[in-house]
């Protein structure tokens, strides 16, 4: 299948700072592709390069195999839904949507017909006469997307368009946007810092950090098989345990936590020196409370319960492994089975060795860790 968009080792520098560093990827026609990364990772810069607002310092950009070097934004077969939507306040809804067609020189009733069709498609029939300031946040959203879709772009770029909406509406728009994309079949490239948005909507997600792609894959792959420490922590929730890795006499890698607990890993890790520091990642939802004794391939850890965070189906325990200063988050299933657990109790937790990942510690900061 031909790629609607191919990016080949694109680089962008601002002075000494490299915002986008040798990024390459392909988006198949009709797919929903997300770029997920913390603020400042270069995702907006990358999007602006694709839209044509920035000239890359290196690399090439192809739309349906056509090189876009030197093509101005108004001549590219790509449209951008801006973060603040950037609807034209001096025009009404109809004029906003018809804007692109008019610039192409289309006139008369065919424009009106297309605008009406699109208004129906985004679920706002008959609101062509409304002024922009009469619309609600969600309606503005749909008009901004309709305004781009009417151009029938090869690729539709979306720059965190849900960022300005309140939480409830955002949940709703996620589903709606996904359905809309499936319906129109346009290739979407969506950038966001919200992993839930990326996971729910996308066919493929690229995780971006420090101007590079850490991993490209389906949401499931990113969640179950993260390829780097960054992805493990950024996609989904994860507990991080500082461990040292060594090898036992059978050659398997063993992660030692807190100098006491040994966890045999399912995959071998090649260590270079003894001083290397590793992180063991355990997802709160893969932790089992009070597992059966001597279960095979299970890591067990005694912990003290610090507090219980009751949040209906999303309830969690905050626990502290004994003799440590670490804290872990454990999912607390509301099956009434664990109602007896109180703060201060000592319990055992465990997880299947296949459900953990171990990566060498790397120095990066998550934006929300401050």
């Amino acid at each position: 299948m031909e790629s609607a968009l191919s990016v080949r080792s694109v680089t962008k520098k601002f002075g000494d700072f490299t915002a986008v560093d040798q990024v390459s990827f392909d988006v198949e026609d009709g797919k929903f592709f997300s770029i997920l990364g913390p603020s400042g990772c270069g995702k907006t810069t990358l999007l602006r390069i694709i839209a044509g607002f920035y000239k890359p310092d290196g690399g090439t950009l192809l739309f349906n195999g056509k090189d876009m070097a030197g093509v101005a934004p108004n001549k590219r077969p790509v449209n951008l839904v801006f973060q603040n939507l950037a609807l034209f306040p001096m025009m009404n809804v109809h004029e906003n949507i018809a804007f692109g067609l008019r610039r192409r020189g289309e006139k008369g009733s065919s424009v009106d017909k297309k605008v009406q069709e699109l208004l129906e498609r985004v679920g706002l029939p008959g609101s062509g006469k409304k002024q922009i300031n009469q619309l609600s946040g969600g309606q503005k959203q749909r008009i901004a997307i309709a305004r781009c879709l009417i151009m029938e772009p090869t690729v539709l770029l979306l720059d965190e368009p849900l960022g300005a909406l309140d939480a409830k509406l955002r949940e709703h728009m996620k589903v709606e946007l996904k359905n809309l994309q499936a319906q129109v079949g346009t290739t979407f490239v969506y950038i966001t810092h919200d992993q839930s948005e990326a996971m729910v909507m996308s066919d493929t997600v690229a995780v971006m950090n420090n101007g590079r792609f850490e991993q490209i894959g389906t949401p499931q792959e990113l969640y179950h098989e993260p390829k780097s420490s960054f992805v493990a922590q950024f996609v989904g929730n994860n507990n991080k345990l500082r461990v040292q890795v060594r090898h036992d006499h059978e050659g398997a890698s063993v992660a030692r936590y807190n100098d006491v607990f040994d966890f045999v890993l399912s995959e071998r890790i090649e260590t270079k020196s003894k001083d290397e520091e590793y992180d063991l990642f355990v997802r709160p939802e893969s932790v089992v409370i009070n597992p059966e004794k001597d279960r095979k391939g299970f890591h067990v850890l005694p912990v003290d319960v610090l507090s219980i965070l009751f949040d209906a189906g999303n309830s969690r325990l905050i626990v502290r492994p004994v003799d440590s200063k670490d804290e872990m988050v454990v999912a607390l299933p509301q099956t009434r089975e664990f109602d007896h657990i109180k703060a201060g109790d000592r319990i055992h937790i465990g997880w299947d060795m296949k459900n953990v990942t171990c990566f060498k510690r790397s120095d990066w900061k998550l934006y929300d860790e401050e």
Binding site: N84, F99, G100, R103, M151
Partner: protein, 285 residues
């Protein structure tokens, strides 16, 4: 309670009275007297419309009047055309502290009196002036040419003196225009001309009309620049008023001219607002 109420009234009066006195003594009262004068005959003191009839009888009067109105509109239009790119540059292209530097560069000429500024232009343009010296030295001109005392010099001078009053309000509205709106238009296939036509100018309309009204009134009522730079070849209607009152001591005729000018400026401002579909309330805000 009563006492408190009275205090508020006194406070209100304290600030309100100067405004009322200012308006009444310096603007309303003299205008009422001028209005009376304009409707009385100079020698007999009787009520008559002669002063207004004289305006229409003498072609030199109403021709000057029409000329003044036309050139004022032209100057206003030219100032708009020039100030749009200037404001765009200051507001959108320049970043950080250079904005302040540019604003000061725009403001600095206005720290000097209008008279000095006009003399500056005269030094540059006159027969023995800077441009003539330069062009003769470069052999573009065979001999010095008088560049002053014509309509072109006068319009240029008027544009120069009123530039600031357009640039400042237009920069004000231009600052409110989100960059992403311009980018969105560009992204949706608009050419640069289309962006100016459909996005920037409609957005700046209140600022342009605001500046337009100020510039138009300033130019229409200006005396110094047309007199010094236009000379005898380019008559301005204010010069006719001056002539009537100062040279001929005909206050009645001068007053009639004054009211005609007031009527003209009110009419044109009203038409300007109607044509651009702006309300006065919106524009003066």
């Amino acid at each position: 309670m009563m006492k408190n109420r009275k205090q508020i009234k006194w406070g209100f009066l304290f600030f309100f009275l100067p405004v009322v006195l200012w308006l009444f003594l310096l603007i309303v009262l003299p205008h009422l007297e001028l209005l009376r004068l304009s409707f009385t005959k100079a020698n007999t003191g009787k009520l008559s419309l002669d002063n207004y009839f004289a305006f229409f009888r003498e072609p030199i009067y109403w021709l000057t009047f029409v000329r003044t109105a036309g050139y004022s509109l032209l100057v206003t239009f030219l100032v708009m055309v020039i100030s749009l790119p200037v404001s765009f540059y200051v507001s959108k292209m320049v970043k950080g502290r250079y904005v302040g530097v540019l604003m000061i560069l725009i403001l600095v000429p206005f720290w000097v009196s209008e008279l000095i500024r006009v003399y500056g232009w005269m030094i540059i343009l006159r027969e023995s002036g800077l441009i003539n010296h330069l062009f003769v030295a470069l052999r573009i001109f065979k001999e010095p040419i008088e560049l002053l005392y014509n309509d072109v010099a006068m319009v240029m001078g008027l544009v120069y003196t009123s530039m600031l009053f357009m640039v400042v309000p237009v920069i004000g509205v231009m600052d409110d225009l989100d960059d992403s709106i311009i980018e969105a238009a560009y992204d949706l296939g608009a050419s640069k001309i289309a962006i100016w036509k459909t996005i920037i100018i409609p957005h700046c309309a209140p600022g342009l009309v605001n500046g337009g009204i100020i510039v138009f009134m300033l130019v229409l009522g200006s005396y110094l620049t047309p007199n010094l730079m236009g000379g005898k070849n380019s008559l301005w209607f204010t010069e006719q008023i001056y002539n009537q009152i100062i040279l001929y001591f005909n206050w009645n005729q001068g007053a009639a001219f004054g009211f005609l000018l007031l009527a003209l400026s009110s009419l044109i401002v009203w038409v300007l607002l109607k044509v651009t579909k702006q309300s006065l309330k919106e524009v003066v805000k």
